[in-house]
């Protein structure tokens, strides 16, 4: 963590500073943030950190297949987390897998957030029939279990990273829309919106410049939690063989690859990618959970 608040600075309490200091109060949440930051750094700098490039077939030695964690391979290379059936270093596989998992998770959450927030904002601002239509769609979407809706879309489109992102966006947008609409309905009755309307500002400007920033706190909370959900859902879909292609294995696919070997006691091929997935999801959830407490005005005294 960078220096949080300089004690010498005059204690002017801006909302951002209050937010940061409140966030830092929970050690568990800060721990989650630190772990998550490390995971993101690992994923971003994967080519520099990973001991092996798992996609480079020249670096793989099929003779090193299914080695136990800690074994030294043919080329004098220690496989700390063992190898899979292709002789791929699991540690490198996991670091590269994190890249895909995070990319799909964060990417879909971002796109779903933009679509959902815009529609939710529109519903709240326009009201009437537009509102009814959008909210009906939201209800319909939410009445179906996410796994089923995602399954349906992938059954239509086939597998592939972009199709997984599409499926995740379709199942996630409704959560954002509902949340944003809720807070936008409250905000749009405030005086500042009325003032902006009196100035005859264009609707687009009122929505995005005036209304949106005030609806951000709940959006941030739901966004954080949705990233974790998206990562978990992508892993599940890939585990079922409907998600990412074999050439770009995410954590879920790594776990699926190790499944058949698990029954014969070679646990590490699915166990360690699973731990990586777990740590990622739990750390995001810890941050999200605390963000909700900090940003929820009802809980503040």
């Amino acid at each position: 963590m960078s220096a949080a608040v300089d004690p010498a600075a005059p204690r002017v309490e801006t909302p951002l500073r209050r937010f940061i200091s409140q966030f830092l109060e929970s050690r568990i949440a800060v721990g989650g943030l630190v772990v998550f930051t490390i995971i993101v750094l690992l994923a971003v700098f994967a080519p520099l950190i990973a001991p092996q490039n798992p996609y480079d077939l020249f670096q793989l030695d099929i003779m090193d297949g299914r080695m136990e964690p800690g074994t030294v391979g043919g080329a004098g290379f220690t496989y700390w987390l063992g190898t899979d059936d292709q002789g791929r270093d699991m540690l490198s596989g996991i670091i590269y897998g994190l890249r895909i998992s995070l990319m799909v998770g964060a990417g879909s959450a971002l796109i779903a957030g933009i679509i959902g927030a815009s529609l939710g904002m529109l519903a709240a601002y326009a009201g009437g029939k537009t509102d009814t239509l959008i909210m009906r769609l939201v209800d319909l979407q939410l009445s179906f279990p996410t796994i089923l809706a995602a399954l349906m879309i992938l059954a239509f489109l086939g597998k592939g990273i972009s199709n997984v992102v599409i499926a995740l966006v379709v199942v996630e947008w409704a959560y954002y829309a509902r949340t944003v609409r809720g807070s936008a309905l409250v905000e749009r009755r405030r005086e500042y919106v009325e003032a902006a309307q009196c100035l005859a500002l264009p609707t687009r400007r009122i929505i995005f410049v005036h209304l949106l920033p005030n609806c951000l706190p709940p959006l941030i909370v739901i966004g954080t939690i949705q990233v974790a959900r998206a990562i978990a859902l992508e892993a599940t879909l890939s585990f079922l063989g409907l998600g990412v292609p074999i050439t770009e294995p995410s954590l879920g696919l790594l776990i699926a690859n190790g499944y058949e070997y698990m029954l014969s006691g070679k646990y590490w091929i699915s166990f360690y990618p699973g731990i990586a997935l777990l740590v990622t999801i739990v750390s995001i959830n810890l941050v999200g959970d605390h963000l909700r407490d900090v940003l929820n005005p009802r809980l503040q005294k």
Binding site: P145, L148, G158, A232, L263, Y267, N285
Partner: protein
């Protein structure tokens, strides 16, 4: 009430129709089943014959018309792979899935309610806090991974429970059930537990929140003031009131439990509808995909209806409201 029921049924029919269109276009409009079903060595005449036999030469809207007409007669097409009616194929697998989902629901209530009650009555105790921390894990752990870990620990390391399959089944009422045999019961424990995990956490949270809220209510104070025993206050007065959200949510969740059994069935090789749909998606067996999705949508609509009606029975306030309109 009757009017309400009719209106709800009509809405349900509309949703069903819309979903049939979406599903049909999604499955038949995208991709080409001919490529997969007919061997590439087949000559042109053979291809044409096969296409005509499968009805794939008609324009899409006519295929939909034929599909809808047949669907109304309970015929959702024949599986390309098994060459059996798709609906029959699904019906054969349904007992396995239902058994699993019901097992999971029972587990969720049997385990979740007492834990939630305890956590609600003693929120500050170590036990209560542990239960809540556990429920967070139940929510955030990807359940397929937990399933793998269950297999690893209980089947591979300890060898207590069988890892996959259904075990011995008994035929009753035209379906094969495994919970009635000793071997079958051993097979169902792990998959049901895996499927129940999320629901247990949900029931714990709902019960705890309900109990904490109810304990502050006047009727609890009043019941106490009347000199009722603590047990009676909790198990009669409080319990009755927290049961409404718990029943609703477990009911609503039943549909998603069946949907989520797709994952559990794939892990434990449980031969239910969920495994069938995954296999069918992988080989593009469209009639089965369509039939499965239609069945699930139908099931969802029924579940929503039943939950709404149960609500009116359980909660007199809802009953009064619907009378007023």
């Amino acid at each position: 009430m009757t009017l309400y029921l009719i209106r709800r049924l009509f809405q349900a029919l509309l949703v069903m129709l819309a979903m049939s269109l979406i599903v049909f276009i999604g499955v038949y409009g995208i991709g080409d089943p001919v490529e997969i079903l007919i061997s590439p060595d087949a000559d042109q005449a053979e291809r044409t014959r096969a296409i005509a036999a499968l009805g794939l030469d008609l324009p899409l809207w006519r295929q939909y018309g034929v599909f809808l007409l047949r669907a109304l007669q309970g015929d959702l097409g024949r599986s390309f792979v098994y060459n059996e009616p798709a609906l029959q194929l699904i019906m054969q697998r349904m007992p396995a899935t239902l058994e699993l989902a019901i097992g999971a629901t029972v587990m969720a209530i049997v385990i979740g309610l007492p834990l939630g009650l305890y956590a609600g009555l003693k929120p500050e105790s170590i036990g209560g806090k542990t239960i809540m921390a556990g429920s967070i894990l139940g929510f955030s752990l990807p359940s397929f991974w937990v399933g793998l870990m269950l297999i690893m620990v209980f089947a591979v390391q300890l060898g207590w429970l069988p890892s996959t399959g259904r075990g011995t089944t008994v035929e009753i009422l035209g379906g094969r059930w495994s919970f009635l045999t000793h071997d079958g019961l051993a097979h169902i424990i792990m998959p049901a537990m895996n499927l129940a995990l999320f629901k247990i956490s949900l029931v714990i949270r709902l019960t705890r929140a309900g109990v904490r809220e109810a304990m502050l209510m006047d009727y609890v104070k009043f019941a106490r003031a009347k000199g009722l025993t603590n047990a009676r206050v909790i198990f009669v007065h409080v319990f009755k009131n927290i049961l409404i959200p718990v029943v609703t949510v477990t009911g609503l969740e039943f549909g998603s439990t069946i949907a989520f059994s797709v994952v559990t069935e794939s892990i434990f090789a449980w031969p239910g509808m969920g495994k069938l749909i995954i296999d069918s998606i992988n080989v593009l067996d469209r009639p089965v995909i369509v039939a499965y999705l239609m069945m699930i949508v139908f099931m969802f609509i029924i579940i929503n209806l039943v939950v709404d009606l149960t609500y009116t029975v359980l909660d007199p306030r809802v009953r009064l409201e619907s009378k007023a309109t």
